[in-house]
Symmetry: C2
Subunit: 251 residues, 2 copies
Amino acid sequence: MPSTSALPDTGKEAAHVPQYLALRDRIAEGIESGKLAPGGRLPSERQLQLDSGAARGTIREALFQLEAEGLIYRRDRSGWYVSPPPVTYDPTRWAGFMTYVTEQGRTPSTETLSTEEVPAAPAVADIFRVAPGSRLYVVTRRRLIDGRAVLVERITVDPKLAPGLCEHSLNGSLTQILSSHYGLAVVRNRMDMRPCALVKDVADGLGVKAGTPGLLVVRTSLDKQGRVVEYDQEYWRHDSIRVHVDLTVKD
Amino acid sequence: MPSTSALPDTGKEAAHVPQYLALRDRIAEGIESGKLAPGGRLPSERQLQLDSGAARGTIREALFQLEAEGLIYRRDRSGWYVSPPPVTYDPTRWAGFMTYVTEQGRTPSTETLSTEEVPAAPAVADIFRVAPGSRLYVVTRRRLIDGRAVLVERITVDPKLAPGLCEHSLNGSLTQILSSHYGLAVVRNRMDMRPCALVKDVADGLGVKAGTPGLLVVRTSLDKQGRVVEYDQEYWRHDSIRVHVDLTVKD
DNA sequence: TAGTCATTCTGGACTATACCAAAACCCGAA
DNA sequence: TTCGGGTTTTGGTATAGTCCAGAATGACTA
């Protein structure tokens, strides 16, 4: 049985390709051919303008496209750079960030941006099964790969389960600390993932423009008694993560 | 322990908010307050221009922002509309698209765009463990929720395992057909997910502009003998999917 | 009633500017 | 060598147009 139809049911054969997509292709080719190495810098927008003859708005359109595809990224008022390859995240493995980044031959690091004790909002109070307004620890961290920020996370922990948590250095594995110092063992993990746009605060932390696409990963870790040990909201740069799940049917 | 620092280490207090973000907020408020119902249409760009006094480029910037956040979507040359809520996809459950969409009170449908028999590219041949160039079935489908296209998928199946597959109606569950007609039972599922930009072909199928952010979900289904029963590349609209995973530590 | 066609409206693409703030750079002083 | 400070470069934001092709609409026709 040969082909019965083309993909889109539009009758167009050689559809008109807008200029900005053609430009995108030219730059993409330069990247894929290796002429531009990962981490390397692209010519400035105004230079590309001179090279191609297109208006700056059109040039930017092409760059935004490449950014959305994860091929390039920008540093504010510095320039456009070729993206390094993403790391693979396997939520079914319990290895933490530091571990799996290292395993993939990259260098991880963590910065604690803030540790606070805040009253629980109704939605969060519900998750922790505490009264709204109860005090909860909120730790904000930034994690980097090879020196480039890839995610900002906001971790919420109940002080009743881990009193004095903030006294520890939180630049390593938090799960590790909860386990070794407080005897909190995670036996269950709920995750929600969805594409999102990075809002102002997070975008600033990642050094990207507000509205850049990202991936929100919400993890809820539970112990044997079903208590919420850790509630973690991770905002990832979209070009830095790939999620892998391997499932076997249980008999 | 009270707050030790603010989120970003930028010293700015009340940072300057660009006009397009202010405009975004105004529209977002209209949506969240319910003044604009899901599926409802926004005023045209030119109308918003008259209302706000901003240039059309600025208006569009605000609309793109809302689109990236999943609040609105566009229909080419028709207008901007308020996005319906996303469906939740749980890859650990075996329920197919039709099932879980229905369970969430929405109406699913499927269209087969094409069925082809194509020579295997090296990468695909490797997955199926066949010689490069071997013929494989490739089915392209589009799936809709409440009449709106949410994903385009490209399914590859080995004809040796399912001869004459394309004779069947493929607008329902393909896994179902493979199981009942060919005795192929899936016992293992590998999934890869990553944010991506939707390329021309797929974007056309979904009725969106090329480069719109999306989520690529690649599923590889294996049977007891480890044979690849189904290789499925799903391109989702980013505002239509939410992935949920619930994991328990096995003892 | 059902189909056809011309008109209007809408978003898509593009040009050409302008000004700003932050980053990067360079040069001179300590 | 290192530290400051001014200059240049870069991306970020915004304006004001233009032209185009497809979607929607409504009036007219068979």
